[in-house]
Homo-oligomer: 339 residues x 2
DNA sequence: ATGAAAGCGCTAACAT
DNA sequence: ATGTTAGCGCTTTCAT
């Protein structure tokens, strides 16, 4: 037979089609769709049938335009660069799933330009109901923008008086790492971390500050020649570590993140240094891979903070509680085999 | 002064406001917005000013409702479970950024229910212009749905006659891994992989199939008692490996992914087995962490396939080329220290 | 080149 | 309980 004739360009069924088919008004269909109680059983049934027959599904955009709610939250993060982000994202996603029916738009930021784009084009009520900013410290202009937009915002990994945020005490974390190295008898301790970019990363420097404090407290003057900074990333950290180990090397290195610690480990391997005998290494984060790597590290609850931040955001979106909360997640030392 | 009076609920400026302010019609404003050539310099200038003064930014939803295009692509992936997904996502994001101005919605799938949700609620033209499906093999019903919806789809990591897809030859990969182990003199080779869930993961079984083939070719009959399957994940793999190593253990283990290989490594460590002397381990993927881990593995270009898939999707969206393409990414053996 | 007006698919207020 | 209608903010004919 020849009824393979292409069906009309597949105009997807609208609420009006359903109404006609069910022999009711669009209002009734809408009410059914939204679970309003003021609909007769009869109508509800007919609408249900029509929907099934037509394969109707309501348009999210139309609904958004009409209600002003997008049922979507945006996540802005320097995704590529940090190994910790995807772990956090898991928490966010889990939380979103549990506490409401929100979709997720991901906005990756790798350059300053992208960063501005994110806050300008992405951060508006029109597109998302709320914004989760990970590891990026908003500039004053961005803060101002966010406020005018009246967009609920929660920060993770950075603090700000204006917005609720969940973070850790990075300075204390740096102290913990350094104290551990000190306990192990190290006196010459190197540091590998992120360069303080215009970009908004701040935790690396905070951690280094903690290191300096712990050092001074132990009567050791921090030695800038033992510090290396560069772009975030395993390979970059490896190269930095190489220059650090080149001559007059430290006996231990504190890496500002586990990703960077991995680079340090690679450098040590390249130089045939025995870890921890020739060189002790401690990282920060406790990524999933840190365990099989045997990496000693300062643990922060990545996943949990992601979850918590999402909860705070959802709370801010659904109203009520919009006071700037500050939550500090606990840190702990995980000793494995690299120290 | 007391003009801190709350400004009216911040009705964000609309195209109509701009039109009024510029003293032109909305049509003209729209034309300016869309870079139409048929606008006088004068009008263009006035509109530009009005936009600046009002801080106007056009509504993406309204535009979507009107044009039917969302400028968004959806990614469906079993995010939590596989370490390779985030690596792939990087490629996708990079590609999206380079080849067009698309946003990204992420849909994580962890259960069968979520999986259905994804394809039902998420996979429609209304929300995204195209869909990238990672590591999930669509069911017949889902395929049918996707087709009626006329939604451009590209598959990564799984094949399908209906859709363009970029994947690898998993069977061949399993052979490569096994041949390497065989070369090293191993005869009793164990396997740790994913259980063939109703869920749609298929690569693990394909890789095991390749292993069996290589074994038979070498005159060895595959021994099912040396195979373990379970949920994807490092810890699960560790436990599986433990049962495998419990009694009459193999001398080498092929893990269907690097994540699982890490679990195997942990099991070996827990049992104080020396790797590779007592137990050789080979993985699959070559994640970023595999290098510092010293893990021998079969490398597949994760990031590149993500990029390529996004390119194919964009091509499919912008028209023309919608023939089902099949692209096979190259595999390579990376020998490190675990074999 | 430009303004007016008709949708896009939905919700919500209003009338019945 | 239900139908009708006026938006939501934009694009896109269609006149002019």
């Amino acid at each position: 037979v020849d009824r393979a004739r292409r069906q009309p360009p597949h105009k997807t069924a609208t609420i009006r089609d359903v109404a006609v088919r069910a022999g009711v008004g669009v209002g009734t269909v809408s009410r059914v769709l939204n679970g309003s109680p003021k609909v007769s059983e009869e109508a509800r049934r007919r609408v249900g049938e029509a929907i099934a027959e037509l394969g109707y599904r309501r348009s999210a955009v139309a609904r958004t335009l009409s209600t002003g709610r997008t049922q979507t939250i945006g996540v802005v993060a320097p995704f590529i660069t940090t190994g910790s982000v995807s772990e956090r994202l898991r928490g966010v996603i889990a939380s979103l799933r549990d506490h409401g029916d929100y979709d997720l738009m991901l906005f990756d930021v790798e350059t300053s330009a992208q960063r501005s784009d994110a806050f300008r084009d992405f951060a508006c009520r029109d597109r998302v109901d709320g914004l989760l900013v990970i590891s990026l410290s908003p500039s004053d202009a961005e803060v101002e923008h966010l406020r005018r937009e009246r967009l609920p915002v929660v920060l993770v990994d950075v603090g700000h008086p204006e917005f609720p945020h969940v973070m850790i005490d990075d300075v204390r974390g740096g102290e913990i790492a350094t104290e551990h190295l000190l306990d192990r008898g190290h006196r010459r301790i190197g540091f590998v971390g992120d360069s303080p970019s215009l970009f908004g990363f701040v935790s690396s420097e905070q951690r280094r500050l903690g290191m300096s404090r712990a050092l001074r407290r132990a009567g050791i003057e921090p030695d800038p020649s033992l510090e290396r900074r560069g772009e975030h990333g395993r390979e970059q950290a490896r190269d930095l570590a190489l220059t650090l180990l080149d001559s007059d090397p430290p006996t231990a290195i504190f890496a500002a993140s586990d990703i960077q610690a991995m680079g340090v480990l690679e450098a040590a391997a390249a130089l045939s240094l025995d870890v921890p005998r020739d060189l002790a290494v401690i990282g920060f984060d406790d990524l999933e891979v840190s365990s099989p790597l045997g990496l000693t590290t300062v643990r922060q609850p990545l996943r949990e903070t992601g979850e918590r931040a999402a909860e705070l955001l959802l709370a801010a979106i659904t109203g009520a509680d919009r006071r700037p909360v500050e939550e500090l997640a606990p840190l702990s030392l995980i000793v494995r085999h690299t120290t």
